[in-house]
C-alpha cells in the first residue's frame, strides 16, 4: 500500500473566487466566528500587510482596495469532490479528507504509471494546469501521508521504519494531534513526536486521551485507517452564481470553462462520455435561457466540451445579463474511443464522421445538415422528406426527376415535345391535400428534360415540378 495525500491550501480561496479570477488584493473571511476575521489573503494582499486573523476593519485600513468574500463551505465541498473525480483516474480508492485534502491509494497503480516519479509528475502537472496549488506526500500509512503533505511537500517514504523516524523529528505542533493534547504535552516539556513515542502507553492514554493515542497509532501504522472510498456520481449538476450580473457571452466563458472542466473530470472518473448537456443561464426576474449542447457521439475531452459549449453559447441570444450559469448532464453513456484500423493510412485531418458532423453543426446550425428519406406516398411532394433514412420500400414505378421544385410553378415557355406520359397521380382525398394530376416527361426548347403536369382533361396550363438533371 502506498497512500498519496494531496492537500490544497488554496482550496477555500478558489472556491469562493470561482466566478471570476481574483484581480488585485483579495481576502477570505471566516464567518463562523462572531467577529468576522480574515481567514486567507492572496499574495497581493499579504504584501500590503493583510494577515490571517485580522479584523476586516484593520485589513481595510491597511489595504483600502481589498476585495473580501465570505467562505463558501458548500462550494469548497463541491470543489473537493470535483478534484476527487479527477484523482480517480490515478487510483481506484480515493477518499476525501475535508476540508482540503484528498487521499488516494497508488500502490496498486504504480506499475501502470511507470513508478512514483512519473505518477507524481502527472498528478502535479494536471493540477498546475487546472490552477490548483497543492502539496503532495506519500507513505504506506494514510494518516502519516496527511501529516507529511502539510509539513514536507514532495516527501515519499516507502517503508515503515523511515516513516517512524521522520515522524519522530516533527515538532508536536505539526503532528496533527488535537490542540488540547498538544498544549498539554507542551506543558509537560515535550517538544517533538519522538519524545511522545517513547512514553509508556497507559501513561500516554491518561495524558492525551484515547483519541490522541489512536491517532499516534494510525500515523505509525499500528492501527488501520478506515477510509470511505469516494464513488463518482451518476450525473452532473453544477451551478455558479455571480456576484454581479454578467452581460453578453464573453464574460461567461471563464465560469463555463470551469464547469466543462469539472464535467470532464467526472467523465474521466466514470470512464464515461457525455452526449448531451444543458446550460441554463439565469437572468433577473426568474427568466432563464436554456442552451442544449448535443453531440453525435459521446465526448469526454475538456477542451472539446468547452469549444462546443462556447460555440453554442456565442450563437445564442441572451435576453438580459446573467446572474448564474448551470451545467446539467444526466446521461453519461459509456465512452468508446473511435476504433481505427492499424494499417489504414489516415487521410486528411483523419476525422471520423461524427466529429465532422459536429464541426459543421457548430458553425452552420443543426438545421443545415439533413438526410433524405423515401416516404411511401403517391403524391410527389410527399414521397421525399428530410428525416432519418431507413431501408427503402415502395418506390414509384414511373421515372422520377432528381431535382424537385419546392412547389410547382407555371412552365414558361411551354414544352416543345412530350417524351412520356401521362402518368395519372390521384391521391390524398382522405387528408385534405387532394391531388389529381397527369404527369408528363417533356422537353423544353433548350433541350432540358422536365417533369410537368396538366390538370386531367386539359391541354394547357403546364405546371413544372422537377428537372431530370
Amino acid at each position: 500500500m502506498l497512500w498519496a495525500c494531496l492537500r490544497f491550501p488554496g482550496l477555500a480561496f478558489s472556491a469562493a473566487f470561482a466566478v471570476a479570477p481574483e484581480a488585485g488584493p483579495s481576502a477570505l473571511l471566516d464567518t463562523h466566528a462572531r467577529q468576522r476575521l480574515i481567514a486567507t489573503a492572496n499574495d497581493d494582499a499579504r504584501a500590503q500587510g493583510v494577515r490571517r486573523g485580522q479584523s476586516i476593519a484593520a485589513a481595510r485600513a491597511l489595504c483600502p482596495a481589498l476585495e473580501v468574500r465570505p467562505r463558501d463551505r458548500e462550494a469548497e465541498k463541491r470543489l473537493l469532490a470535483e478534484l476527487a473525480a479527477w484523482c480517480y483516474q490515478f487510483s481506484g480508492h480515493v477518499s476525501l479528507v475535508p476540508p482540503n485534502a484528498i487521499l488516494m491509494e497508488v500502490g496498486a497503480s504504480l506499475r501502470l504509471f511507470d513508478g512514483w516519479p512519473v505518477l507524481a509528475d502527472r498528478v502535479r502537472g494536471g493540477l498546475v494546469e487546472q490552477g490548483h496549488p497543492h502539496t503532495l506526500a506519500a507513505t504506506p500509512f494514510a494518516s502519516a501521508s496527511w501529516v507529511f503533505a502539510a509539513t514536507a511537500d514532495g516527501m515519499v517514504i516507502p517503508e515503515r521504519q523511515g516513516v517512524v523516524r521522520m515522524l519522530g523529528a516533527l515538532p508536536l505542533t505539526q503532528s496533527g494531534l488535537p490542540a488540547t493534547a498538544i498544549s498539554g504535552l507542551h506543558a509537560m516539556g515535550f517538544r517533538r513526536l519522538d519524545d511522545v513515542f517513547r512514553l509508556p502507553r497507559p501513561e500516554l492514554t491518561r495524558r492525551i486521551g484515547r483519541a490522541g493515542v489512536s491517532w499516534l497509532d494510525r500515523i505509525r501504522g499500528q492501527a488501520a485507517d478506515a477510509l470511505p472510498a469516494w464513488q463518482p456520481p451518476a450525473s452532473f449538476l453544477q451551478k455558479i452564481e455571480f456576484d454581479a450580473e454578467l452581460d453578453g457571452s464573453q464574460p461567461l466563458l471563464f465560469p463555463l470553462r470551469r464547469l466543462t472542466r469539472a464535467l470532464a473530470n467526472l467523465l474521466a472518473a466514470r470512464d464515461g462520455g457525455v452526449q448531451r448537456f444543458t446550460l441554463t443561464l439565469e437572468h433577473a426576474r426568474g427568466e432563464t435561457t436554456r442552451i442544449t449542447v448535443a453531440m453525435a457521439a459521446p465526448q469526454r475531452d475538456a477542451e472539446r466540451l468547452f469549444e462546443l459549449a462556447r460555440t453554442r453559447l456565442e450563437r445564442a441570444t441572451l435576453p438580459a445579463p446573467a446572474r448564474a450559469i448551470e451545467l446539467h448532464a444526466d446521461e453519461l453513456p459509456v465512452f468508446r474511443p473511435p476504433v481505427r484500423d492499424l494499417f489504414e493510412p489516415i487521410r486528411g485531418d483523419g476525422l471520423d464522421w461524427p466529429t465532422l458532423d459536429e464541426r459543421l453543426r457548430a458553425r452552420l446550425g443543426d438545421a443545415a445538415l439533413r438526410q433524405l428519406m423515401v416516404v411511401n406516398d403517391h403524391r410527389p411532394e410527399r414521397a421525399s422528406r428530410y428525416g432519418v433514412p431507413t431501408a427503402t420500400t415502395g418506390l414509384p414505378r414511373g421515372r422520377r426527376p432528381l431535382w424537385l421544385l419546392p412547389r410547382p410553378q407555371p412552365m414558361r415557355p411551354e414544352p416543345v415535345a412530350v417524351l412520356a406520359g401521362p402518368e395519372r397521380i390521384e391521391s390524398g382525398w382522405w387528408d385534405g391535400a387532394d391531388t389529381r394530376r397527369d404527369y408528363y416527361i417533356v422537353r423544353t426548347v433548350n433541350g432540358q428534360q422536365a417533369w410537368a403536369y396538366l390538370p386531367p382533361g386539359t391541354l394547357d396550363g403546364w405546371m413544372l415540378h422537377g428537372w431530370f438533371a
Binding site: 489516415i346 487521410r347 486528411g348 485531418d349 483523419g350 476525422l351 471520423d352 464522421w353 466529429t355 465532422l356 464541426r359 459543421l360 458553425r363 452552420l364 438545421a367 443545415a368 445538415l369 439533413r370 438526410q371 433524405l372 428519406m373 423515401v374 416516404v375 410527389p380 414521397a383 421525399s384 422528406r385 428530410y386 433514412p389 431507413t390 427503402t392 418506390l395 414509384p396 421515372r399 422520377r400 426527376p401 432528381l402 431535382w403 424537385l404 421544385l405 419546392p406 422537353r443 423544353t444 433548350n446 433541350g447 432540358q448 428534360q449 422536365a450 422537377g466 428537372w467 431530370f468 438533371a469
Partner: protein, 211 residues
C-alpha cells in the same frame, strides 16, 4: 540501406503524383480514378473515371440536361460501399425516390444547406476530413482561389470533389483536374472535355446522352 530504400519509395510517391507526367512512362499516366459508370466515358478519361483526390468541374448550360445523371452512377457506387457522399448547397430539393431508384443508399447521403461562403467552407471541411467519399457542391460564384483551396483539400483528404457551375464560366481559368462541359444540341446532350490532367486520347465529345 534503409535510407536509400525509403528515399526511392519517396521518389516513387512523388512521381506517382497525378500532376507529374513523364514522357518515358506508360502512355497512360497513373491517375487514380473512380469509375463514372458510363463505359464510353471511363474508356476515354485518364485513369478511367473521376480523378480521386482532385476537383472535377462540371459546367452545364441549363438544369435538366442530364448533368446529375452523369455523376449519379459513381455516387451510387460509393454509397453502396458505405462511403459518404455530401451534397453541398444543391439548387433544388434532391428527390429521394429518384435517388433511391438510381441506386443511392440514402443512409450515406447527406445534404448541407448553406449560403455561398459557408458552402465553400463546408465543402472544404468535408473534403479535408478524410471521411467522405465524394463531395458534390453547387457553387455558382466560386472564385479561382476558393477552387484552389478545394483542390488542396481534396488532395489531403483523398476525396473526390465535384463542383457544378454554369457553362458561362467555361472561359475562366480553373485549377480543377478535370473540366467537363454539358451542353445540348440536336435534342441530345453532349459531354465535352475542356481540361484534363493526364493525356486524353480524343478531342471529340466524350459522351452522347439522351439521344
Amino acid at each position: 540501406m534503409n535510407a536509400i530504400a525509403s528515399a526511392t519509395s519517396n521518389l516513387a510517391q512523388v512521381l506517382d503524383h497525378p500532376g507529374i507526367w513523364r514522357r518515358s512512362a506508360d502512355r497512360q499516366p497513373r491517375v487514380r480514378a473512380l469509375s463514372t459508370g458510363w463505359a464510353s466515358l471511363d474508356g476515354r478519361l485518364p485513369g478511367g473515371g473521376w480523378p480521386q483526390g482532385a476537383v472535377s468541374e462540371i459546367l452545364f448550360e441549363h438544369d435538366g440536361l442530364g448533368e446529375l445523371d452523369l455523376v449519379m452512377p459513381a455516387l451510387a457506387a460509393l454509397t453502396q460501399e458505405h462511403r459518404r457522399v455530401i451534397f453541398v448547397a444543391p439548387p433544388y430539393q434532391p428527390y429521394a425516390p429518384a435517388l433511391a431508384a438510381a441506386g443511392v443508399d440514402l443512409r450515406f447521403l447527406h445534404e448541407i444547406h448553406a449560403g455561398s461562403t459557408e458552402a465553400a467552407w463546408s465543402m472544404e471541411q468535408c473534403l479535408r476530413s478524410g471521411c467522405c467519399g465524394a463531395v458534390v457542391g453547387w457553387l455558382p460564384d466560386i472564385d479561382y482561389r476558393s477552387l484552389r483551396r478545394l483542390q488542396l483539400a481534396a488532395e489531403s483528404g483523398d476525396a473526390c470533389a465535384m463542383v457544378f457551375r454554369s457553362a458561362g464560366h467555361a472561359a475562366e481559368n480553373s485549377p480543377a483536374a478535370l473540366r467537363l462541359k454539358v451542353s445540348n444540341s440536336d435534342e441530345a446532350t453532349y459531354v465535352d472535355v475542356l481540361k484534363s490532367r493526364g493525356l486524353l486520347t480524343t478531342t471529340a465529345p466524350l459522351l452522347r446522352m439522351r439521344a
